[in-house]
Every structure is written in C-alpha cells, then in structure tokens.
C-alpha cells in the first residue's frame, strides 16, 4: 500500500479539470500506454497569454491522476510565463509530498506542461534531456535525461533514478550505465566544487568575516584535536594576517607544541580561512 498524503487521495478521488477543451490553444501529451502512464494537457489562453481554462486526461495510477489534477489547479489563471516556472517538486509539494517511488508522476506533469507551452509557441520541444543516447530501452530514457534528473534532484542511487524518471525500472540491464552516469555527474560536480574552493581565498574576506571564520575554525577543527591530548588553545587576538594564540593545559609544557603551532594550527587556519595567515604564540 502506498503511503499517500490526504491531499493526494483527495485529488485522486475528486480530480479537478478532467476532460477536453474544444479548440484548445495548446496541447501537451507525454507518456504512453506501454509505459503505464500518460497525460494529455489542454490549455485555453486569453490575449495576454493567461491560462483561462485547462483540462486533462490521464492514464495512470492514483498519484499520476492526483499530480495532473494538482497541476491544473496550480496553473489556472497564471500567465504562461509564470506557469512555465513550475517544477516537479512544486507539484509534489502542492500535494504535501509524493512517495519517493512516485516522483515520476510529478515529473510527467511538468513535462506535459512544457510540451503544451512549446506547442503553443510553435516550437519543437528542444530539450537537451530528450536528446542523447537511449540508456533504458524499457522506458526509452536517454543518458541526458538521466543526468538531468540526477543533478536536479541530487540523486545518488539507481533506485532514486528509477523513482524520478523510470529508467532502470524494467529489465535492469542498463543499471551499470545508470551507475556510470550518476558517478560521472557527481565527479563533475566535485571537480566544480574543487575549483570553487580553490578560488575561495581570492574572494576577499572582510575583517569581521575573517575573524569569525578564524574563531569557527579554532573551535571546530583545532581545539577538539588538542583537547583529546589533554591540551588546549585560546585565541587571543587577530591583527591583519597575524593570529595570536596561547597554549593551555598539557600544551604549555609540551616540547612539541611549537611544531603543533605550525603544522596543525596554522595549516588548518590557512586551509579553512585564507592561506596568508601567520600564527604566533603569545603569553597571556
């Protein structure tokens, strides 16, 4: 039994805006009988491109019907440009959430809307997500589409990918390829983050930011290590790039504390704050 929210149940039992519009201004159709769900969305617009009427027909499970119904309520009365901003997460949130395995229902809603908007604007839907190579043959899902869902929803497992776009939900023979896509996306993101971090010191910190960051680093990254050896440190002052500290506990007597000062304390502060810092010991 799926764990549906009251709102999903309510929209499923009493779907809004079911039907068809005669001479619609826009039609969006996604899915197929083979996939197990399909949605046809029809829009009527006024001169200012405001959605004045919307109807849908859907073939699918409870949450597919509820997602379609929710989508129509969300876009009714909105300008086309406003409606275009709606994401699959917005649809799920409107319904007080969907079970993980059912997220693809909200994705179908968003895709039908995209298709309808493109249809109205006379565009062929140029979505990078539809291009590329088919990875999941059972549900016809491309590598670009999978990578898009992985990034968009921060997916890390094959199971999650299946929940969001069905890929891998059939014969499972594409699982190694899906894993490779997940790995590649996150490898790239990691590289981007590394570049981002390397650039960080270039961004000039204000004195207040710098002091706060030094304090945080001392508390979180330095003191616990020293304390585990019975020692401690106190931050005395910061003057430009000079950071003045004073040893406490066993560190005071410890002959190795000079080395600790440079190898641990200064290294940590340079890593987390800025690499121009110089740490000095003061008596206090």
């Amino acid at each position: 039994m799926w764990d549906y929210s009251e709102k999903v149940k309510e929209h499923f039992l009493h779907p809004r805006n079911v039907g068809e519009i005669e001479n619609p201004d826009a039609v969006g159709e996604v899915g197929s009988l083979a996939c197990g769900d399909a949605l046809k969305l029809m829009l009527k617009l006024d001169k200012s491109n405001r959605i004045i009427d919307v109807k849908f027909k859907t073939f699918g499970c409870g949450s597919a019907i509820a997602s379609a119904s929710a989508l129509t309520e969300m876009i009714k009365g909105k300008l086309l440009d406003e409606a275009a901003q709606i994401t699959d997460n917005d649809i799920a949130n409107y319904l007080d959430g969907l079970p993980e395995q059912k997220m693809h229902c909200s994705v179908m809603g968003r895709e039908a809307l995209e298709a309808a908007i493109a249809n109205y604007r006379g565009q062929k839907i140029i979505k990078p997500v539809d291009e590329g190579t088919i990875v999941c043959k059972c549900f016809g899902v491309t590598d670009n589409k999978i990578a898009h869902e992985v990034r968009e929803h921060k997916l890390t497992t094959i199971e999650q990918v299946t929940n969001y776009c069905k890929a891998g939900g059939g014969c499972r023979s594409c699982h190694p390829q899906i894993q490779a896509i997940i790995d590649e996306v996150w490898q790239k993101e990691k590289e981007k983050a590394m570049i981002g971090r390397a650039k960080k010191p270039i961004k000039k910190l204000t004195n207040i930011q710098k002091m706060k960051l030094i304090q945080e680093t001392v508390e979180k990254n330095i003191r616990p290590t020293l304390q585990s050896d019975g020692g401690d440190i106190e931050l005395i002052d910061v003057d430009g790039d000079r950071v003045m500290v004073s040893f406490r506990g066993s560190c005071v007597e410890c002959p190795g504390s000079k080395i600790t000062l440079k190898s641990t304390i200064e290294a940590k502060l340079r890593e987390f704050v800025t690499d121009t810092l110089i740490v000095e010991e003061v008596n206090s």
Binding site: V18, E29, L33, G36, T58, G60, C61, I65, G169, C171
Partner: protein
C-alpha cells in the same frame, strides 16, 4: 465500512477453529517438545497429530512432512537441499511464471555457477511439455514447476510433468502453495518428489509452512542445529502455528468439495457478470485449467493501482499485476510471460475468493467494479475509439 476480502491468494483469514486450537499452546502447553518431562513431551505428541493432519490433506505419510516457517523457506529448502545433495549436477529447470520464492532463487543460483533453463508459457499461461522434455538433461538436479499460479490461478499438468521428469531421471519440486486446500491432491499416487505448502494461504496463521519430501529422496538438511524435524530443520518448533496448520489442513479436507462447488460458482458469477457489464475486458489465463477461486481480468486503458484504490474506497480488497502496485516499475512477470499486451497488464485485477466469501459480497463487487472502470476510462486519454490506432503501434514498438 464493510470489508469485502477477495485477496485470498495473498493471504487468508485465520479460521476461528484454528485460532481456538492454537490458544492452549500459548497459555497452558508452552513446554518444549524436545524436553524429557511430560509437560513438554505431551506437546511433541500434538505435533505428531498436526503432522498427520497435514499429510492426510495431501495424501502423504507423516514422516514425509517437514514443518518450516513459510512457503518461501520450503521452496528454498527444497531446491538448495537437492542441489547440495547432488553437487555434481549443476542444472535447474523452472518456468518463467514462478513465484519470486523460486523465480528469484533460480536467478540467484544462475549468478552463482548453476545453469538455469526457464520454460516459457503460451497466452493461456500453459507450458509446452515437449519443451520441458527437451530441457531436462542428465545433469539436471531438479525441476521446479509450480502447481497453480498465484496470479492467474492456472493449474499446470503436474503429474504429466512429473512423468517426463521421472523418465529423464531428475527430481520434481512443485510450489503448491496456491493449490493445497483448493484442489484435491494425492501424493501417494504421484510423480511429485517435493512439494511446498504454506499455512496462511489455507486459513492457518502466517509464519508456518511445510515441505513434503518423498521417502527415498535424498536432500541435505536446510537449517543446521538441533535434532528437530529428524535433523532436517533445526530450531525449536513453532508449536502453536504447527498445531494451527494441522487444524487448518483438517478443515481444508472437510471443505475441499465446497471449493469446487460454492466457491467456484461465486467466482464464475463474478467473472461473467463483470465481463458482461464492462466493455473490452479480457480474462488472463486458461479458462478451465484454473483454481476455482481465482479470476484475473484486464481492463485496457486504465491502470491497476487506480482501480485498486477505488475498490478500496468501497471496502473491496483485491490485487493487480500493474507496475505501480508492485513497488518496482515492472509489471507482472507472469502476465508478461504470457504475452499479455502492456496495455492489459497495467489494467489487470486479481480477485481471489475463499469459502468465507458470500454471494452477497460477489453481488456487491459486481455492482461496484464496472462503474469504477467506466470512471477511470472517462479520465483516460485512450478512449475506445483509439484502441485500433494505438494497439498495433504499441506491439510493434515492443517487438
């Protein structure tokens, strides 16, 4: 709200007589059947009676019955027990429509050095026996073919299958979880070597099952431990449930004629009335070689989970082979193996009755199911008029 329970192939109500029979073994007779004292020892004698009751239902001898924790355990024990006892034989024959307890076990074994031949079925869900005969080889350790299918109720000609397996010198295991208690079985005159049965499918509680191992069949013990179950399955016996299973088998024997008459009449009426009242239906599985309690129907252009949720609103419990109800996205492997079109697999509903159902309940379902299908078809973008256009496109896309 009144609950109309028609999901008896999933599990059944524990018979009130079974509950009564079990209760003393929680309260008074809690002794360990292995103990030397009378207090425990008397329980062992009750287990013997239960073993006899199980044996009587299927025409076996009591020493051929091993109590287990469930059907899945019995299936695993049967297959791996035979494989371990015959380490030089590395080949298994099974079908594409087995319950996951056998289906997934065979997939696992195939990944671990065994050769598995999966036999396909035709559109009625029947095996091709010539194909079976060709599949069984000299190194076939075991053939595991279910007695009756849980989704469609289709009954395989298990004795014919057994003769073929015998001629080829292999061993036949059958998962008869759905058959035991619904159709009469007589293992004293049978080609079956091992047979699985499960308590909760025949009005005993969950958590107890049994494996029939024919005298003379060598199988390795499957839980190593104490001397229980003649060293074949260690572990202190689940006494109350075993007593319950015994009583349930005794009752099943008493009511088996009713399954063939009253239960079958209810199923037949249910099916024919719904077919009459709903456009474009189909019945999945062989019409006659079928369990008396099961009907599996498909309604194209609607989706099974939606049907189940609306039935649920009326208090009617059923199941579906639809992808959305399975927890994965894959629709029923049984219906797919039968070549049922995707459109019909997604819209499949299984109703499975028991002797506790009534004709009033059947009428209640006949009243409520057809409007549910109509309502969902009204929402569906695939109307009847698109049927001819859509279908060939779908089949060609799939092949």
């Amino acid at each position: 709200m009144k609950i109309v329970y028609t999901d008896n192939n999933a599990t059944t109500m524990v018979a009130p007589e079974v509950v009564e029979a079990m209760l003393p073994y929680f309260r008074e007779y809690y002794g360990n059947p292995s103990s030397m004292h009378t207090f425990g020892g008397q329980v062992a004698r009750k287990i013997d009676i239960a073993r006899q009751q199980v044996a009587d239902l299927i025409g076996a001898s009591p020493e051929e019955i091993v109590f287990t924790s469930c059907g899945t355990e019995s299936d695993n024990a049967a297959i791996t027990g035979i494989l371990r006892a015959n380490p030089h034989k590395r080949h298994i024959v099974t079908s594409r429509v087995e319950h996951p307890a056998v289906y997934n076990l065979c997939k696992y074994l195939a990944q671990n050095g065994y050769h598995v031949t999966e036999l396909g079925v035709d559109s009625a869900g029947m095996l091709n026996l010539n194909e079976l005969a060709d599949a069984v080889r000299e190194d076939t350790a075991i053939v595991s073919i279910m007695y009756a299918n849980n989704e469609t109720g289709v009954i395989f000609p298990i004795e014919e299958i057994g003769s073929i397996v015998k001629q080829k010198g292999s061993v036949l295991h059958t998962d008869a979880v759905q058959a035991v208690g619904k159709i009469p079985l007589n293992l004293s005159k049978s080609t079956i070597d091992l047979l699985t049965l499960s308590g909760h499918k025949l009005h005993a509680p969950k958590g107890v099952g049994a494996l029939f191992i024919r005298k003379g069949i060598t199988s390795s013990p499957f839980i190593i431990g104490g001397h229980q179950e003649k060293n074949r399955r260690g572990g202190t016996e689940n006494v109350p449930s075993i007593i319950g299973l015994g009583r349930a088998c005794e009752l099943a024997k008493k009511y088996i004629a009713e399954e063939q008459s009253r239960v079958k009449q209810m199923r037949d009426k249910l099916e024919s009335e719904i077919l009459k009242k709903t456009p474009d239906p189909r019945v999945n599985g062989h019409k006659t070689l079928r369990l008396p309690n099961t009907t599996n129907m498909s309604f194209e252009f609607v989706e099974g989970e939606a049907i189940l949720l609306l039935l649920n609103e009326k208090g009617i419990c059923a199941s579906s082979g639809s992808a959305c109800t399975s927890g994965s996205l894959e629709p029923s492997h049984v219906l797919r193996a039968m070549g049922v079109p995707f459109t019909a697999v997604h819209g499949s509903v299984r109703l499975s009755l028991s002797r506790y159902n009534t004709m009033e309940e059947v009428d209640y379902i006949i009243e409520h199911l057809p409007p549910i299908i109509r309502r969902l078809r009204e929402i569906s973008p695939y109307g009847r008029e698109t049927k001819l256009k859509e279908q060939p496109a779908q089949t060609s896309a799939r092949t």
